[in-house]
Structures are given as structure tokens and as C-alpha cells.
Amino acid sequence: MLTMSEPATIPDPNAPASVLEGDLVRRARRGDLQAYDELIKRYQERIYATVYHMTANHEDANDLAQEAFIKAFQALRSFKGGSSFYTWVYRIAVNKTINFLKQRKNKAQMSLDDLDFNAEHDPDLVALISEKTPRREVGLAELQEKLNAAMQKLSEPHRMVVVLHDVQGLSHEEIAKIMECNIGTVRSRLFYARQQLQGYLSDYLK
């Protein structure tokens, strides 16, 4: 099972696993809920993670991720297969999340997930916090909160690009497909968002 700590990549449509995905999609389109259950299990973690990193709220992420899968099932008949099912579901989730965040605007409240055990042993993170505080556990939690707060200051499209590229590990091309914009836009948004984040987190980036 894929964990959130591994960068996600969009499956290659020519790979054998994707042939099976096409079969699952065809069955799900005919109303086979078992096939759709299998599709959900494949992508639930990545879809949830993307929505969670955008909202910084577990409950909202849970609702939005579920709604994205429900909407995808209802619209499955209109899915023409021009892109992979994964890209398509991702696009639904991204649009749903951005719309939700536009409505939520000023009543943002963080409800962060816990850090897993591996975070304390991540050499990069240890190096970042060791200069700040000798108490690593407190340091990581504080860092997590500051990082999420800084990300919430970004506009939705800029935050989305950072989440998809720097957290999820998707390529510029994949992000361009999901966000339905050109690669140049993805690159410029990413650069601007990183500049902003660097300013917000300057105390932690010596």
C-alpha cells in the first residue's frame, strides 16, 4: 500500500496496471460498485492527502475526498478516457477543493493530522529543527503548525501547485493536466509560491 510519505506519480496509461484500471472503469460505468470500490482503494490516499494539504483540516478533507469520488462515479458516463481515470478524479477533487476554499475563506480552522513515527527520524527534518530546539518532538509539532499556517496564506492556485509538486511529487506536466493550465503557468505559480513561503518561514530556514 502506498503511504503518503512517498511521492505520488500519475500511473502510465500504457502500463499493465492501467489496462486493469480501464477494465475497472468500464465495469464501474455499468454500475459495478465492486469495481468502483477497487478504484477508490487505489487512489483514496493520494486524493485525501491532496485535499488535506489544501484545507489543513481532517474533517473537511474527509468530506471533500468522499464527495469527489461520489461525483466521479455519477459523472463516469461522461468520462471519455482522454486522460487517465486518476488524472480525471484528481481534477474533480482539485476543483471541488478550490470551490470549497473560496466559500470558506475567513473561517479557516486547522485540524491537523498527527505526524507519523518516521518524521522524527527524517534526517532533513532533524537537521532543520536541531538548531532551533533540543526537544525534537515539540519542535516538529511547532514546525508543522507554522508550515501549515504559512501555506494557508497562499492563494488556492499557488497552494495547490506547491502541494502537488513539492508534497505529492507530481511533475509540472501532470499538474498542468490536472489544473487545466499550461506548464509555464505551473512553473511561475510554483516559483512565486515558494518565494512567499520562504518569506513566511524565514525563521525556520537559516
Binding site: H53, L147, V167
Partner: protein, 170 residues
């Protein structure tokens, strides 16, 4: 110049912290099940309107609805067409009724078109109509009544000249 690596190494390492954020243990075990249950509830019609269900079951209807939303003039034309069909249908059905009455064999209507005057009293609820009540010991009043309608005497009434002769007057 590579923007990915330019001065953002530390930031990217910091952002990697977000990959360690995990939902509660076992959260994903029931995730797909919850989605499927919600889909099934939607198919049963729980919480969804009739229109939503109709659109979901008939994709062609969804396309038409989408076209109407995109071009309201289409909806107007469609509405006018439906009204026209309805009116035509009503007129046509009236003509058909009249023709069918006229074609009933063994009636006087065979030779002459039916007019309002031809409607018999038996067809009108307010006109005189014989009531077939069997004599009954438990319903003596009903049996004593005639079958005349309330308006039956109206035709028998005649105006009579009033006399204005005053006693002792001129």
C-alpha cells in the same frame, strides 16, 4: 536556470514534513465503504431530488438540460412548442368528440348536427330526471318524492299582469 533547486532546497525539505502527516490509524480501511454507501443511498433517492435522479438515470436528458441552461432561448422555443402541441391536442380532441357523437348509429344525430337544444333532460343534472327509487318501508320520504328537479318548474312559470286598483280610488 533551474527554479526547482534555486535557493529552495531548505524549503523543499521543510515541505517534506507534510508527507509525514497521517490521518488516524485505520482511517482508510472504511473510506471506500463509506463512499459506496453514500453512492447507494443516492441511487435509492435519499436526499436527492426527483430532478437529480431523473438526470442521473437519463444522460440524454442531462445533455438537453445542459443545453437549456447554456442557451435559455432554446428553453423558450421548447416551451412554446410544447404549448402549441397542447393547444392543438385540445382542439383536435374536441373535434374528434363531436364527430364520434354524430356517428353513433340509431340516433337522430345521424342526420343533423348536435346543438345545445338537443341535449335531453336526462343528460343534465339540473333538469327533470326520473329517479328510480324502489318503495321501501325504511325510506318512505324518498319514495314519496317525485323525480322533478329544482329547476323543473321554471319553464311553467308565466308572468301575470298585476292589478293596481285601489279601493275607493279612481
Amino acid at each position: 536556470m533551474n527554479q526547482d533547486t534555486e535557493n529552495f532546497d531548505q524549503l523543499r525539505r521543510l515541505l517534506a514534513l507534510k508527507r509525514h502527516e497521517q490521518p488516524p490509524p485505520g482511517y482508510f480501511n472504511g473510506f471506500s465503504r463509506q463512499v459506496i454507501v453514500r453512492i447507494q443511498a443516492g441511487e435509492r433517492g435519499d436526499g436527492s431530488s426527483v430532478l437529480e435522479r431523473l438526470l442521473w438515470e437519463a444522460p440524454w436528458l442531462q445533455r438537453i438540460w445542459g443545453a437549456f441552461e447554456a442557451k435559455p432561448i432554446l428553453a423558450g422555443v421548447f416551451g412554446v412548442a410544447v404549448c402549441g402541441l397542447l393547444i392543438t391536442g385540445v382542439i383536435y380532441s374536441d373535434k374528434t368528440d363531436a364527430t364520434s357523437v354524430a356517428l353513433v348509429p340509431g340516433t337522430e344525430a345521424e342526420s343533423a348536427p348536435m346543438t345545445l337544444a338537443d341535449v335531453s333532460a336526462a343528460d343534465h343534472p339540473f333538469l327533470a330526471k326520473p329517479v328510480m327509487l324502489e318503495p321501501s318501508s325504511t325510506n318512505p320520504i324518498a319514495t314519496a318524492q317525485t323525480g322533478e328537479s329544482l329547476l323543473g318548474d321554471i319553464g311553467k312559470l308565466r308572468a301575470q299582469p298585476a292589478s293596481f286598483a285601489f279601493p275607493g280610488g279612481n
